[in-house]
């Protein structure tokens, strides 16, 4: 039995702790079990307010279900721990579920403090901490209230006030201290903030306390009585008067807690019991403080994971309390020693009440920057925060003056040293950020910018001017990013994706011809994994497909279509050849052997397609997907069965591979070939994945291409047995599908990705990203769910209904589709063009 680690609380710090554990391999050696009180896994509490700007609870999620599955982490949501028995080393949850632990980690966070005033539990009183809270606030505000009051003018209070105002309520803020945000800003900053917020229509009451919440006859909130004797009419109240560590569980089992709350821990986040750790907002750190911010919590998560993995680690001794907030379009930031507590420090202040700008820097005796407060213009926040502790390269007064105000241009991020910390949430330096090229890359590789988000602007300025990487005018994301969004968020419809992730101006619109097929293909290739039907003709999917996918055939220049049945490996019986011949003859189609070892039948009208396919399906043919961004053909050479040089059965392998990957949707078409020996008659090295027989098995080549820019594939692995070959191809294809751009063949993709074929080999052969099992599972899903699209179409009258030339004359053929004879077959009779035809090369190919 592996040792068991139990985590109590799946909040922001809890989730980070799990990631740190996984990184250190602890999830592989331990059974890890998480007990979560909330009805959903961890989400981004810091961004909670963005719910009111349209972010859905799903979008706030921090937890990729596959992360948990991949690392074997068990999660029980909606089941809070009620008791810890340190003697027996067990925890018991509300449901009665009891589990024994070897290591216990408490990450229970905080609860909102509600001042014990009479009436504070009246209907219409809320707190502001969880997704459930914001849902409840929204519901109540929209149904029952036109005015609202927030108790507390700190960071969270202002966020809550912004939310209420955004919901259309006349909003009051009641703050006991003489100024807003007393913890962060000084008097001057508070005054600037007050002016600006009042100007934006908020009613601010400072220096007064709340004495009572007064209820109406119906028992709902009607007013608040304040300490100055006045009464404030309001229909709802949101308490945001600070938080308190949730240390009750620890108290109940006798663990030491701090004087003002918080489970006492040492530098390695251990509590008084060596088997029990506490991290995040529920803990009182070794420096005696309880941190109410996420960055220190993340550091504690790292420290505790280190300690659990190796028994040591860098002790957590305290953290930065910088914050930046943007609400109602007002920037407020404070960093370092904002209140000038250090001995002998001096202030440099710039204040302009016309524009609501207030900036103060605190400078040490040696000229070093110690901290500051910025209100109204926090543009320099990132740079200044990163310079904290150093002597700035220009005089402090120049740092607070607005750009162009007589002073030299204030300091840009170029001036920062490489080791300056840009993202304090994740402790990422300028140098680490500059090792990446784009913001998405920075977020992916360093996590910078994925916490509070306040450093994102500065990160942008540190990166080379990157052209917009977006897929098209509708989405700012690359195809690979959209793939991740669809996969993780399980988005099953294009409209939903466009309306939630599209560019601002594109939401609610029609989308475009570029992203529709790309998203259609992503949804199709993830279909089993996200729980949708993979059939490409149904429902909304129907409207996303290029005409070729829509009619499951290839559009030709005169409006007719071609038909390509699959001929796996190019092997075909005489009976089947005869059927193809008969069908072509009966429907008058032009036939040609393709470059892909199969037969193409040209000149079919839309309404003929079902009848042609009925005959072909009857004879055992399937769709060849000549129309799709999908697997085309796996060509073969005749191999050892007949050929005197052959060393393996290349035809059998080609057939196996073609049947395995048929129907697989990809960013671009996929081609393959299998040659029976190094003479390479199947041209496998010009294929996306090519296989060449050796006396010891198979060599696998990837990234080959014929077409416009020919490229020979790179050798990925040698002398593989059948099973290993298939496993590597599974991984290779799924990794390509996940990360490639739209219309990017494997050859260009391989040339583009960092580290090229070495990196690919690491991922696919050595499983360096630990993705192997997941990629194989995705492919297994694909294989298990494959159905022939044409057979499925023929089975369904509704699907067949679209195969007509005219909606109002279903039987009528299109009179403009006409043919003339040539070399004993037909060719299109082309209408005279009104406009000279465009060079097709200027435009993107349709398919094949």
């Amino acid at each position: 039995m592996p040792p068991t680690l139990v985590l109590v609380g799946h909040g922001m710090v809890g989730q980070r702790f799990l990631e740190e554990l996984a990184e250190r391999g602890v999830t592989a050696t331990h059974r890890v079990l998480v007990l979560c009180e909330e009805p959903r896994p961890a989400y981004d509490r810091v961004q909670l307010t963005s719910y009111f700007a349209g972010r859905t609870p799903d979008e706030l999620s921090l937890t990729d279900p596959e992360f948990l599955a991949r690392h074997g982490i068990e999660l029980r949501v909606d089941d809070p721990v009620e008791r810890i028995d340190r003697q027996a080393r067990t925890v018991t949850a509300r449901s009665g579920f009891t589990v024994a632990y070897d290591t216990l980690v408490l990450a229970t966070g905080s609860y909102p403090f509600v001042p014990p005033v009479p009436g504070s539990d009246t209907t219409g009183c809320f707190v502001y901490r969880t997704i459930e809270d914001v849902l409840a606030i929204e519901e109540y505000a929209t149904k029952h209230a036109t005015t609202g009051a927030v108790v507390g003018g700190g960071l969270l209070g202002l966020e809550a006030a912004g939310a209420l105002q955004g919901l259309g309520l006349a909003t009051h803020i009641v703050e006991f201290a003489p100024r807003l945000m007393p913890a962060q800003v000084d008097e001057g900053g508070g005054a600037a903030l007050l002016r600006t917020l009042t100007g934006r229509g908020l009613s601010v009451h400072t220096g007064v306390g709340t004495q009572e919440v007064v209820a109406s006859d119906e028992g709902t909130v009607a007013a608040m009585r304040l300490s100055d004797g006045s009464e404030l009419a309001t229909e709802m109240v949101v308490f945001s008067a600070g938080v308190r560590p949730r240390d009750q569980l620890a108290r109940d089992c006798g663990l030491p807690v701090g004087e003002r709350g918080g489970i006492t821990v040492d530098g390695l986040c251990r509590t008084g019991d060596p088997a029990v750790y506490a991290i995040g907002e529920c803990a009182q750190a070794a420096d005696g403080r309880v941190y109410g911010l996420v960055a220190p919590g993340y550091e504690m998560a790292r420290t505790a994971a280190d300690a659990i993995a190796s028994g040591t680690g860098q002790a957590f001794t305290g953290a930065d309390l910088s914050t930046k907030l943007k609400l109602l379009d007002v920037d407020v930031a404070s960093f370092g020693d904002a209140h000038g507590a250090a001995e002998g420090c001096l202030d440099v202040v710039y204040s302009d009440s016309r524009s609501g700008t207030y900036k103060k820097l605190v400078v040490g005796a040696g000229g070093e920057l110690l901290g500051g407060v910025l209100v109204g213009d926090a543009e320099a926040y990132g740079t200044l925060r990163a310079l904290t502790g150093q002597v700035p390269p220009v005089p402090a007064e120049q740092l607070v003056l607005p750009a162009g105000a007589g002073a030299a241009q204030a300091l840009g991020p170029e001036a920062l040293p490489g080791d300056a910390v840009i993202c304090t949430c994740h402790n990422v330096t300028k140098a680490a950020i500059q090792s990446c090229a784009t913001l998405p890359e920075v977020k992916k590789c360093t996590k910078a910018g994925t916490g509070c988000g306040s450093c994102v602007q500065l990160i942008g300025r540190l990166l080379p001017d990157s052209a917009d990487q977006g897929l098209c005018g509708c989405f700012p994301h690359t195809r690979a990013e959209l793939y991740e969004i669809v996969r993780v968020r399980r988005v099953t419809s294009y409209a939903e994706l466009l309306d939630t992730h599209g560019r601002e101006g594109a939401r609610g619109g029609e989308g475009c011809e570029t992203c529709k097929p790309a998203v259609g293909s992503i949804i199709a290739s993830l279909a089993p994994a996200i729980g949708v039907d993979g059939y490409v003709l149904d429902g909304e999917q129907a409207a996303l497909q290029d005409t070729n996918d829509h009619f499951l055939a290839n559009l030709q220049k005169n409006g007719s279509y071609s038909v390509v049945p699959r001929v796996p490996g190019g092997e075909i019986t005489p009976e089947k050849l005869i059927v193809i011949g008969e069908v072509a003859r009966d429907f008058g189609l032009y036939t040609k052997i393709t470059g892909g070892q199969r037969i193409d039948l040209f000149g079919a009208r839309v309404e003929q397609l079902p009848r042609i396919w009925a005959r072909l399906v009857d004879a055992g043919f399937e769709s060849g997907h000549a129309y799709g961004k999908a697997l085309r053909t796996v060509k073969s050479c005749v191999g050892w069965t007949w050929c005197r040089y052959g060393v393996q059965d290349s035809v059998r392998m080609a057939i196996d591979l073609e049947l395995r990957y048929r129907g697989l949707r990809a960013p671009h078409k996929l081609k393959s070939a299998v040659s029976g020996c190094a003479r390479e008659c199947a041209e496998a090295r010009s294929k996306d994945f090519g296989v060449i027989a050796t006396s010891g098995g198979w060599n696998l080549y990837v990234g080959g291409n014929g077409g416009a820019t020919p490229r020979h594939g790179d050798l990925l692995a040698q002398d593989l047995d059948d099973a290993a070959l298939v496993r590597l191809i599974d991984r290779f294809l799924m990794f390509y599908i996940r990360t490639a751009d739209r219309l990017e063949r494997t050859s260009t993709w391989l040339e583009r990705i960092d580290g090229g074929v070495e990196h690919l080999r690491d991922v696919v052969v050595h499983d360096s990203l630990g993705l192997g099992a997941e990629l194989e599972a995705l492919m297994a899903e694909h294989v298990a769910h494959y159905r022939d699209e044409w057979a499925a179409t023929l089975d369904d009258p509704e699907r067949l209904a679209r195969f007509v030339s005219f909606v109002n004359a279903p039987g009528a053929p299109d009179p403009t589709v006409a043919f003339v004879p040539e070399r004993e077959q037909i060719k299109p009779d082309l209408p005279l063009l009104a406009i000279g035809s465009r060079r097709a090369a200027d435009l993107e190919g349709t398919s094949a």
Binding site: G509, E510, E540, A542, A543, D546, T547, V807, A834, L843
Partner: protein, 123 residues
């Protein structure tokens, strides 16, 4: 205006789609024959002319001439809909030129325009 968003499922209480033709309204099909974001072709009574009929996400119908002026093929009804700067367009399935569905103007070539028909959801 009636909404036609549920038409994809083909309900019994279907409205019809009508085209303005030679001074009158011609009923061409039931609204349930249209899928938002896609088109269908309509053969006009002269047995020669063809219109391409589309439904967008918001339930609005459009009709333009079905002939793609760049290739001469009558295929515009098989293109994909899109919108740019608030203008709804269809992209030709052949070489992808885009045509504004309200004006018929080609968005990729100022000198090219296709004919348009007034279209509506009728009783």
């Amino acid at each position: 205006m009636t909404t036609a968003t549920e038409t994809a499922t083909g309900t019994a209480t279907d409205t019809s789609v009508q085209l303005r033709l030679d001074g009158g309204w011609l009923t061409v099909c039931a609204a349930s024959c249209l899928t938002p974001g896609r088109g269908v072709a309509v053969l006009l009574p002269d047995g020669r002319r063809q219109a391409a009929l589309f439904l967008d996400r918001s339930g609005r119908v459009y009709a333009i001439d079905n002939r793609d002026p760049f290739s001469g093929a009558t295929v515009l009804s098989r293109g994909l809909l899109g919108s740019a700067d608030g203008r709804v367009f269809v992209a030709s399935p052949l070489l992808k030129q885009r045509f504004d569905l309200v004006t018929g103007q080609c968005l990729d070539d100022d000198e090219v325009r296709v004919g348009v028909y007034a279209a509506r959801l009728g009783a």
